[in-house]
Symmetry: C2
Subunit: 386 residues, 2 copies
């Protein structure tokens, strides 16, 4: 059915994106689902490895497939600045450019402009900023954000949103949330005006830590209508319990028949907690960045591989892990590679940490499927409390 | 046969190492052969990727196998300093430590002490030096060089030799060559005294650019007797034609039934030229180091991938190359990864450059097999002369 997509009339194009809820958990808000995209299917709850600059750091696409990655995220902001979205379009789109045939979600650039660029100036039209690479001046509008992501050809694009530092006052958060709503509607109109597009567009709920603003944001976005809904503006410095609380409070306002994507979160523990609060999709740089810093995830928490205790340790990172690194290499070798600053250190550590995250998601899906997710959650919490 | 090796009496152990000459070229000194080691067979002429610190930079062992690497080189000097040969022995030897199941040749450390360490002081007993990592003082003797390589468990070990900077006077070169001969004999005795060892030991012909010294060195080494003979002390700054001349002059003095290994050489052109002068084995950091610097080999010479001309170039590095990178990625993407300082840039560039080297060796072997090596040589020379 999906394969016939190219022959559908333009107004049916977006039907190539579908979300099915397969199962909902009895004891929590967790659910299991399936997302169909023009580049394939992925099951939720899902974790998306981050490929900021059209590459998941230190990983070949084949290695990502090998450890079970189904969808990756890439960043419009970075690709707009280098090599340029038109170059990527000319080379057949982002999938072809980077050699990844599965689904891709692109972020709109809102968060990167906020966190990376210089001399940022926001008004209702858009955001003026200087490139963090060379100082060139750009003006990013909702329409341009859609055009960039159209050129990239991602399966799921995100609306341009206005991001705020934490803590923000209620009045600042309100202005910013309202602006984000306007921008979201402009993204929707601009995308819908394109003939024959096949990309899904997700709205982003904003409103900082204020319940009334978050509710207003969600309600307005739903009125505009998006293929999925993200929660933005979290994981920016607020306390973790506050983050969980915001997720828990917004979730009932999101439509059950659309995927919910919690942006930029978090630790393995955060994933389990937020799945229990009804979230379906996640992305985070923690597994890849920690890998390059030699911090490796195990069932019993992370280990710091450079520590002297691993000097002659013949055991794998985690004896219970089935990843290609744990099947073959000792902690002693991984410590040696890290201390020797070998590129292979980043490669092997990233394979392990991403596998750990993807395997955590598999476990979560299995526990939901067998109606035992609450047990997984209880174990995770008791381990956390130790 | 080789599988029964462990049951052979100690004095027959070294028989697990065998060299067969399969064919000699009519028009040149080129030859095709096969080397048997306890960890498998490789065909010559062979190129050995360099895995200095128990890792070929940016490459997993599976990727090396995938592009046709059969034997790799690693460096005793580096592994002695970090993590220590005893640690590697305790972890099952170098093959197990680094996850490479094929043959490994280890260098003795002579050249690295000469080129990397601080405060080097040579006398007839050995060489006293300070670690380039932390300044610790060590004393490396021929016996210790053998013990280190025994602990590592490489298939082919090299004698400890005294290395000289270019240019060297005849008298300095003579003293150094004589010392290297004594050290070689001490390595031989020390290895032969070990019970049940299965490692081959190669001698190293020294004598700088002086024909008489090189001849004396070769004759003496042959008298001591080694499983193979290397030419050392080249590629250290002498003019290329002088390097070819030295190889050409020594070759007739080396036994035909033992592999000849030209250490640390060279460009693809050097490989063809030195195969035509009877060399069987090579190692060099050029393909891996150039890869990390964005210099990529093609049939028509190398390209510098960062150049603006490749900005939107959809072609592979070399349209005629069958490597995993050229099958999938554009020059535009590889340029983007390089400029973005992505780790994947080093990985993909290394895959391509090593494939290019290994494929060059395959071509050389095929052309020898079909008695057309001289044509390959002629084409290489005419291209070079352009």
């Amino acid at each position: 059915m999906l394969a016939t997509y190219a022959f559908l009339p333009p107004n049916l194009m977006r039907e190539s994106f579908q979300f099915e809820v397969l199962q909902t958990d009895g004891a929590t808000r967790a659910r299991r689902g399936r997302v169909h995209t023009p580049h394939g299917v992925f099951e939720t709850p899902a974790f998306m490895p981050v490929g900021t600059q059209a590459a998941v750091k230190a990983m070949m696409p084949e290695q990502l497939l090998d450890i079970g990655a189904k969808i990756i995220l890439s960043n419009s902001y970075h690709l707009f600045l280098r090599p340029g979205h038109e170059v990527i379009k000319q080379l057949g789109g982002l999938h072809n450019f980077m050699g990844w045939e599965g689904p891709i979600l692109t972020d709109s650039g809102g968060f990167q402009v906020f966190s990376l660029s210089n001399l940022r100036k926001v008004d209702n039209d858009g955001v003026r900023f200087r490139s963090h690479l060379n100082g060139d001046l750009f003006f990013l509008t909702p329409e341009l954000a859609v055009d960039i992501q159209s050129a990239l050809g991602s399966d799921i694009m995100m609306v341009l949103d206005d991001c705020l530092a934490h803590p923000a006052s209620h009045s600042d958060a309100r202005i910013s949330m309202k602006r984000s709503l306007e921008w979201a509607a402009r993204c929707r109109s601009h995308l819908d005006a394109k003939p024959e597009h096949s990309q899904a567009l997700f709205g982003i709920v904003q409103g900082a830590i204020f319940k009334d603003l978050r509710e207003e944001s969600a309600a307005n976005l739903i009125e505009t209508g998006f293929e999925g809904y993200a929660i933005g503006g979290l994981g920016v410095g607020e306390p973790i319990p506050k983050m969980y609380e915001v997720v828990e409070r917004i979730e009932p306002f999101l439509p059950v028949d659309r995927p919910r994507y919690l942006m930029g979160v978090g630790t393995p523990h955060d994933l389990i907690e937020c799945v229990s609060r009804g979230m379906d999709m996640f992305d985070c740089v923690i597994p890849t960045r920690h890998a390059r810093n030699g911090s490796l995830f195990t069932r019993d928490g992370h280990i710091v591989i450079r520590h002297a205790q691993f000097k002659d340790d013949p055991e794998p990172i985690d004896t219970d892990c089935g990843c290609p690194v744990c099947r073959k290499y000792s902690r002693a070798y991984l410590r040696h590679l890290f201390l020797s600053k070998e590129i292979l250190s980043s490669v092997l550590n990233t394979v392990h940490n991403l596998f750990f995250y993807l395997d955590t998601m598999r476990k979560i899906r299995h526990f939901i499927e067998f109606e035992r997710f609450n047990e997984l959650l209880t174990v995770a919490r008791s381990f956390r409390a130790q």
